[in-house]
């Protein structure tokens, strides 16, 4: 057991892996070559079409202990991962790992197969019930939570080997050219699947919309795809691009958004060429709305927006606030429509978006990002994985990637939820290190990291409620009281991997 630089206890080894404790956001870089995949030869007339998922699983030569992957662009509408797990069970495969880009609530269907030993590892963060049951010790499954950039990194370095990548292909031809913009399961960007297509040992395109050659545009190309399988349906279209978040109407959320946009203005970054990322939450959208108004008032033209894209960001592109959108994932139908027809709306891979170990990720060019939090602490560390209950409930997304990349990382959160303080002495779990978080904005105060003294002064000059984070923490706990700490056992049930592969925190089993 050793402490990492944030004071978190990290075991020396976990499930046979030697762990490298987190030190800082910038320096770790293993001396390795990029991973590669077997060379294949295809001659004219060779067919890639296979009749079923079962046939594809067999053709890949899957054995006990191997890893499969899927992408999560179909979000809560995804049927593929559940189908694959059931098929693997039917084939008698055991001790398999899921190395998908994310696991959603819809995948709670695989819980019986985890209990049965079909699945024993999940090499990605999980949303929903699986994480809760694992935290309670009611389900045995090793989980390694990775950010979007960190997951791309783990495939590129070969730390995670994907033996067979099953790519849900909303539009596909018989040679395996894929795009996400057509067909009944259209999801827009296929940003997360690119890395799998390049690094998995075998790549299988699974489609419910097989079109005559060539499928165009080509997002993932035939030169990377081994097999093509046609199935009835990839997913439930109603849940694929179903994000329906709207600009918040909660007065406290709107106040947070107002403060956040004033912080952006005060930072001096809001000028021609401004680049920006915001989430799809109601408060984040309200920040974007305020920022647009400021851009309109100042006749400012931005360069790019990036991340998961919503209709609001599409409006900003179409109204000329930004020249380009870099899209890893579409959150709603409007975004899918836009990426289909607007050349300024670009599909990018998670690798290009956020991998720290390539020759330059998009997040490094970001001026400003708005991020959420389940908790923050007096060292500016942020938790998005667990809640104050101690349960692992959320995946990281790009949180720690964009915080590290952007010049100004602003976390927006209410100072309390219900009767729980959100500003804590120490977060339950560190997702994103305070070294990469610049400002925390709540409805009761704005806390600025000490390294930004000038920004602090400017905000004070504008009569904004700047507060020292330790005093602010005391102010909030005077109102809420100090909640009784959650008790944990020693057993580590999940690792929180930082984007560079070091271990920033672990999730321990909650004592019931």
């Amino acid at each position: 057991m050793a402490k990492n630089s944030l004071g978190r206890e990290i075991p020396a080894q976990w499930r046979g892996r030697t762990l490298d404790p987190y030190r800082d956001p910038w320096s770790r870089k293993p001396e390795v070559l990029r991973a590669t995949r077997p060379l294949v030869r295809r001659n004219p007339g060779d067919s890639k079409l296979l009749p079923s998922l079962r046939a594809a699983l067999e053709q890949c030569g899957l054995r006990d202990g191997m890893n499969i992957s899927t992408h999560h662009a179909l979000r809560n509408g995804d049927l593929l991962l559940n189908l694959l797990v059931k098929e693997m069970d039917a084939m008698g495969l055991r001790d398999m790992g899921i190395a998908s880009s994310s696991v959603h609530a819809v995948h709670a269907e695989i819980i019986p197969y985890i209990r049965k030993g079909v699945i024993t590892r999940i090499e990605t963060g999980v949303n929903g019930l699986i994480g809760e049951l694992v935290s309670k010790g009611e389900l045995k499954c090793d989980i390694i939570v990775r950010s979007h950039g960190g997951r791309a990194r783990s495939l590129v370095t070969g730390e995670v080997e994907v033996d067979a990548a099953f790519i849900a292909a909303p539009c596909c031809d018989r040679t395996g050219n894929i795009n996400g913009v057509d067909g009944p399961s259209a999801c827009g960007s296929l940003g997360y699947a690119y890395t799998d297509a390049r690094y998995a040992k075998k790549v299988i395109a699974v489609t419910d919309h097989l079109v005559r050659y060539p499928a165009a545009p080509i997002s993932i190309s035939q030169s990377d795809v081994d097999y093509v399988v046609q199935i009835d349906s990839l997913g439930d279209p109603a849940k694929i691009v179903s994000t329906t978040t709207r600009i918040t109407r909660d007065p406290a959320g709107l106040l947070i958004a107002k403060y956040a946009s004033e912080v952006i203005e005060a930072s001096g970054l809001l000028k021609d060429g401004f680049s920006f990322q915001t989430g799809s939450g109601g408060t984040s959208l309200a920040v974007a709305d305020n920022v647009c108004r400021k851009m309109a008032d100042g006749k400012i033209k931005g360069s790019f927006g990036c991340g998961g894209i919503t209709g609001y960001f599409v409006d900003m592109l179409e109204q000329g606030y930004f020249e380009t959108l870099f899209d890893v994932q579409c959150f709603d139908l409007k975004a899918v429509e836009s990426i289909r027809r607007n050349p300024g709306h670009r599909e990018i891979s998670a690798d290009l978006y956020a991998n720290p170990f390539n020759r330059g990720a998009v997040v490094n060019l970001l001026d400003c990002v708005i991020l959420g939090a389940t908790e923050v602490d007096v060292d500016f560390n942020v938790n998005v994985n667990t809640e104050s209950s101690g349960y692992l409930l959320h995946n990281t997304g790009g949180h720690c990637d964009v915080a590290a990349g952007a010049k100004l990382a602003i976390v927006v959160a209410p100072s309390m939820r219900g009767r729980l303080p959100i500003v804590r002495e120490a977060v339950t779990t560190v997702t994103t290190p305070g070294e990469t978080v610049d400002v925390i904005v709540t409805e009761r105060g704005i806390c600025v990291a000490d390294r930004h003294e000038e920004l602090k002064q400017e905000l004070r000059r504008r009569n904004l409620p700047v507060k020292d984070i330790r005093e602010f923490h005391e102010e909030i706990t005077r109102m809420t009281g100090v909640p009784k700490p959650v008790e944990f056992e020693d057993e580590v049930v999940a690792l929180i991997e930082y984007r560079d592969g070091s271990i920033i925190d672990v999730v321990r089993k909650v004592s019931e």
Partner: protein
């Protein structure tokens, strides 16, 4: 001049909303024990409100409490529970006659004596919200020295008139005018009614502009999201401020020449113009928009 542009209602039985009162930039808050609180929660709301006021000593806004009407069985208990927590004053519903205000004045005096406070500590803003109230409001405005403003309540007023309230408000014109007359004649502020459609900011802006033109200096409101629009409307525009400064400079020159009238770009500047300009500048100073020292000698001339 005490700003009362925005007087925000917050239900007294909702702890989640009470706790956010310090956060919003309304000029004043009126914690409601009356219409927003169901009968079964009257006592709980009193306790919550009292405890909230006690836990909020560093107040950056005026705190009023809207008690239940004096002819209900709840009003006495409201005052008994709330006043020890020292609100700035009481918003009095159904102030149909001057007698009602006088009765509240007496009750407040009794409580001030009991609590050892200066007599007159608690202020009153009566709600003029019925046909009878409108007819009597000239006298009501003079019923107690505690009054700082008259408030118009359009919802109850239209109910008492058996008419519908519209977004354009033609049906309220005469009543509003009467309330403003009564307030101005008694030397106090006039606060307009709430605007209940919290998603229609354009109509809120139009109504606020209208009542500003009539002479109201503030509005009651039901949602913090409405604060920004209301403050924006009551804020003098930059053009108005610039013009007011020019008027003051012009009249200063006139006074130096020994006259009270001067021409500014072809328009006559005399006493009423100067009074209006002085008012604009006082408002701008109160809003923190400019730094300007007004001199009575310039405004009124040397005696």
């Amino acid at each position: 001049m005490k700003l009362r542009r925005s007087m925000l209602y917050v239900p007294g039985n909702m702890p989640g909303m009470l706790q956010n009162i310090p956060v919003f930039e309304a000029d004043g808050v009126m914690i409601d024990l009356e219409d927003a609180v169901p009968l079964a929660e009257k006592d709980a709301a009193r306790l919550l409100t009292r405890n909230f006021l006690r836990s909020y000593p560093d107040r950056d806004k005026e705190m009023f409490v809207r008690i239940n009407a004096l002819d209900t069985p709840y009003a006495d208990a409201d005052l008994r529970e709330i006043l020890p927590a020292l609100p700035d004053g009481i918003r009095l519903p159904k102030a149909d006659t001057p007698d009602v205000v006088e009765r509240l004045d007496t009750l407040l005096t009794e409580q001030e004596e009991r609590l050892g406070l200066t007599i007159g500590h608690f202020k009153i803003i009566p709600s003029i919200e019925s046909a009878l109230g409108v007819l009597n409001c000239v006298a009501t405005a003079r019923a107690s020295d505690r009054l700082v403003a008259l408030a118009f309540g359009a919802e109850d007023y239209t109910a008492s008139m058996e008419i519908d309230r519209t977004k354009t408000g033609e049906e309220l014109f005469s009543a509003r005018t009467q309330v403003v007359w009564a307030a101005k004649a008694a030397g106090m502020q006039a606060i307009d009614s709430i605007f209940s459609d919290i998603n229609d900011m354009a109509a809120l802006r139009a109504e606020t502009l209208l009542v500003k033109r009539l002479g109201f200096t503030g509005k009651s409101l039901v949602n913090p999201r409405q604060i920004e629009v209301i403050h924006d409307v009551f804020r003098p525009t930059q053009d108005e401020i610039t013009h007011a400064v020019e008027v003051m400079e012009a009249i200063k020159r006139a006074r130096e020449m020994g006259t009270g009238v001067i021409s500014l770009r072809g328009k006559m500047v005399d006493a009423p113009v100067v009074t209006r300009a002085a008012r604009t500048l006082r408002t701008a100073v109160a809003f923190g928009m400019i730094d300007y020292t007004l001199s009575d000698e310039v405004i009124h001339g040397e005696k």
